[in-house]
Symmetry: C2
Subunit: 146 residues, 2 copies
């Protein structure tokens, strides 16, 4: 589920952080590439299997986050899910099901995205705060839970 070019880029980033792109880490990246939204360590463990124990998954996710390859997303009941950073997936937002907790990525049309970006900049200039990023989190019911 990984493309060679992405793999090379990830490897380069990891090398820049003096860490190796090992088999276990490749499996995690690959699982995230195939995902349609953020995944928790437990979800990845279920998908990848016991070949990569939970503690290694957590360590891998930490390393990937430090290298800017994945980004955490905080979910209900203290669950942290990770997804590939936006330089890989492209900028997007989240649909969060209030019933089952699943999170799905959604990209919004360019003009609207520009609106949002502008809005965020405006807010930053009004208050003492320097915006660096934004996320529109939409809560509701997913197709399966309707």
């Amino acid at each position: 589920m990984t493309t060679p070019s992405l793999d090379r880029e990830v490897e380069k980033r990891l090398h820049g952080h003096d860490v190796r792109y090992t088999k276990g880490r490749r499996m995690v990246v690959s699982a995230l590439v195939g995902a349609d939204g953020p995944k928790s360590a437990a979800e990845l463990y279920a998908e990848i299997g016991p070949g990569v124990p939970l503690s290694s998954l957590y360590r891998t996710l930490t390393v990937l986050e430090e290298a800017g390859i994945v980004v955490p997303h905080l979910g209900a009941r203290g669950l942290t899910r990770y997804e590939l950073a936006e330089w890989i997936t492209g900028h997007h937002h989240h649909l969060i099901c209030v019933q089952c907790g699943q999170v799905e990525d959604v990209a919004i049309p360019q003009p609207q995205e520009a609106q949002v970006r502008e809005l965020v900049e405006d807010i930053g200039s009004l208050v003492a705060f320097t915006p660096m990023g934004h996320a529109l989190e939409i809560e509701g019911r997913c197709a399966a839970c309707t």
Copy 2:
């Protein structure tokens, strides 16, 4: 830090859920009224003091959430912060400091808010998802961390 009218409304809601508006619960509501953003159980405990033990704080927050008086906000490292529901505070968004983790409320001008609301509706009609609410989370650096 609480107004009599708010207190009465809260009491009414709690009664509707067959729970009492006790001293401990009043202290939590009062602390939240005086807050400028979501607060975690630990933060409330630090402010209110050991008069209300952590376990009671958690129970109180759960009760208040079920009664629609507070709403959870998920923060880094599995921390859940609570704030008063929007029928009390008014609709608003969050400024999240990437450095210190503090969350601050911010309201955006009505026309822009309408834009966002419309955008969310549009997305809902494009994908199989029924939007019920939205939150624009703006990450950046707060005044103290700049």
